[in-house]
Amino acid sequence: MAEQELEMITDTFYRIVDMCYKKCIPPKYIDGELNKGESVCIDRCVAKYFEVNMKIGEALQKKGQQTGVGGSVTGFGA
């Protein structure tokens, strides 16, 4: 169980790294350093990701209460 949690956390980390890079860093590479705009964008990107994460969690929880838990997300049972 802890192993699954650790895996999920590292998976989430790499996802955020990837996503925010695509959102915030234009592929121009004029300079190897992060400028102020890029740094601020990254901060906000990470913050927004966690907000979205929370909203989706709430939406799924609501859905789970409506249709019952467990295999409902996969659409077909074993």
Partner: protein
């Protein structure tokens, strides 16, 4: 899937494996959904907080994807 050939202990073990897989699948589903809706809805980084437009988009994105998932399951 036919479970008649297994004894009770084996059935319990299979049940545990199925439950663990469902848990893993759910987590995968969850993180994929977050990524999908984040990529599609969030493009404005002028502030740290979600705009109301973005919030609406996220809610609709989640709803639509869940319904899509359900329909695929029905047709499957």
């Amino acid at each position: 899937m036919d479970f008649q050939m297994y004894n009770d202990a084996e059935k319990q073990q299979i049940q545990r494996i199925i439950e663990q897989k469902q848990m893993r699948d759910f987590l995968k589903f969850y993180t994929n959904l977050v990524e999908r809706c984040f990529n599609d809805c969030i493009n404005d980084f002028t502030s740290k907080a979600l705009t109301s437009k973005e919030e609406t988009c996220i809610n609709r994105c989640a709803d639509k994807f869940l319904k899509h998932n359900e329909r695929v399951g029905q047709r499957f």
